[in-house]
């Protein structure tokens, strides 16, 4: 048997050709001896040649065939193969810094009571378009302002002791097929069992993914629906301070106030002054979301803060609708579950490759 290495880096990927090479190159550029870690890439049924690209850099490539299984499932398959004492999950669309991995390893080795930790996004997203810069800053804002305890053991880069990961039942691959909230559920499960999970603002990664308004709306919608449908908003809120949806939904009351501003302006101004009404709404929204916009202005300047104000308002609206839809779905159709065939396979205990999603996470 090969000698165990202290660290196993696991990268789940699905159709990640656009960013995978940069992500893996950054991992290999870590200030960590190459013999100290193994690099495992788990391909989630990609159709763009991601496994072949991953083979240029990785020690092990796992090819999952069939239909998309999700990042939780992919990470679990990687963890099952890993030999390292510590597992680090790195998304295929982020770049770690040279010091990120060794520092995570050092923190876990120096603090025996610390079981898992996650790092935060830096301010500079690789993609330069407004939507990408906005989303990256929003996530960064949430992570930086509420760093400390609070479990999110997944995106974009998180480390956990292998034994803790396995004994806690790994990620919930049963319910979290798409959205990126499996780390929130897992972090909460760890904390409920007395494990210490910490997010740090001192270690950062750079996001590579390019967003547009449509994909942002989809992301916020998915997260919001899943939060209320599968996790339960109130139970999750305290445990997950860095989740972007909370950064949005915290300002739901001000957003409601902004709607009041619209109503008020519509009542008192003549119909012809539409630009004035819009200006009032914009100013009102910025004023009511002042902490976030002050952060945006400080990071990118006042023009940027003004430019993203409508986008922020749109995300808040999408988030509010998604949270409400999640509640309704939770009551009307229940929690998310795999399709009937998968459930039947799981119940019978059919042994196959790739394995049938497991329910051990719950």
């Amino acid at each position: 048997m090969p000698s165990p290495r202290p660290l196993s880096v696991i990268v789940p990927v699905r159709n990640g050709n656009a960013t995978l090479a940069r992500a893996l190159t950054a991992i290999l550029a870590s200030e960590l001896p190459r013999d100290d870690y193994e690099l495992i890439v788990v391909d989630d049924a990609s159709s763009d040649g991601s496994p072949e690209l991953a083979a240029r850099y990785a020690d092990t490539v796992v090819r999952l065939t069939g239909r998309r299984a999700g990042p939780a499932y992919a990470r679990n398959r990687g963890a099952e193969l890993a030999l390292g004492e510590v597992l680090v999950f790195v998304d295929a669309d982020v770049m770690v810094r040279p010091e990120t991995l060794p520092m995570m390893l050092k923190l876990l080795f120096d603090h025996a009571g610390l079981d898992a930790m996650s790092v935060s996004h830096d301010q500079a997203a690789a993609a330069q378009n407004l939507a990408s810069q906005y989303w990256n800053l929003l996530v960064h804002y949430g992570e930086q302002t509420r760093a400390g305890t609070g479990g999110n053991v997944a995106s974009p880069c998180a480390a956990i002791r292998r034994q803790v990961f396995l004994s806690a039942g790994m990620y919930d691959e049963w319910r979290f097929e798409r959205a990126a909230l499996e780390g929130i559920e897992f972090g909460r499960r760890l904390e409920d069992s007395g494990r210490e999970v910490r997010s740090t603002r001192d270690l950062e990664i750079t996001a590579l993914k390019q967003w547009d308004v449509r994909s942002l709306c989809g992301e916020v919608w998915d997260r919001s629906v899943l939060l209320t449908r599968s996790l339960g908003y109130q139970r999750t809120h305290v445990a997950v301070p860095s989740e972007a949806v909370f950064t949005l939904s915290r300002a739901m009351a001000p957003a409601f106030a902004a709607l009041c501003v619209v109503a008020f302006s519509a009542a008192v101004l003549p119909p012809a002054n539409v630009p004035v009404k819009l200006a009032i709404v914009l100013v009102g929204a910025i004023a009511l979301n002042f902490p976030a916009h002050r952060f945006f202005a400080k990071a990118r300047g006042i023009p940027f803060a003004i430019a993203v104000a409508p986008l922020h308002l749109l995300m808040q609206a999408v988030s509010a609708l998604g949270l409400c839809a999640g509640w309704v779905m939770r009551d009307a159709v229940g929690d998310r579950e795999p399709d009937a065939a998968t459930q039947a396979y799981a119940e019978v205990g059919v042994e196959t490759w790739p394995p049938v999603p497991r329910t051990s996470g719950r």
Partner: protein
Amino acid sequence: MVPVSIENIASSGSASQAHALADTIVPEEPGVKNQALSGPGSEPLRQPAVTRRTPRISLIVVLPENHVVSPDRLAQGLRAHGNGDIDVVVACAGQPANLSALQRSVGDAQFLLAPAGTSTEDLRELAMRQAPGDIVTLLSGALLPATAMDAELFMTS
């Protein structure tokens, strides 16, 4: 059993060259009819989706120019996956120094011979296209020892 060598192919470190190389390199697999690889625009060679109980394992040994892997290390790599069936793919840039020793230790391996100078990354990508496994482990060779005696020991031990 002489692996097919490919000449007149410019080697390069770029990823795109791997596709060009895959167009022309012919793998040799003892006991199996030689099979031309697919072109650059086509899908990598993969088995059709067949339900299996356990994952298929592949071991890729990557040997850039002047690199070798000792049969012992190869055996260690095979043992790491237990006693199950493992598909071994040996991807070499040029003629590896200890080819015969490798063939003795893993007789049913598939040997891919790329032109001398082909980069490690290109070899890995080429081999990955040929490896049928669900779980593919990549093992890199070591630089050929400088002295003849060391090299002899390394290659045959």
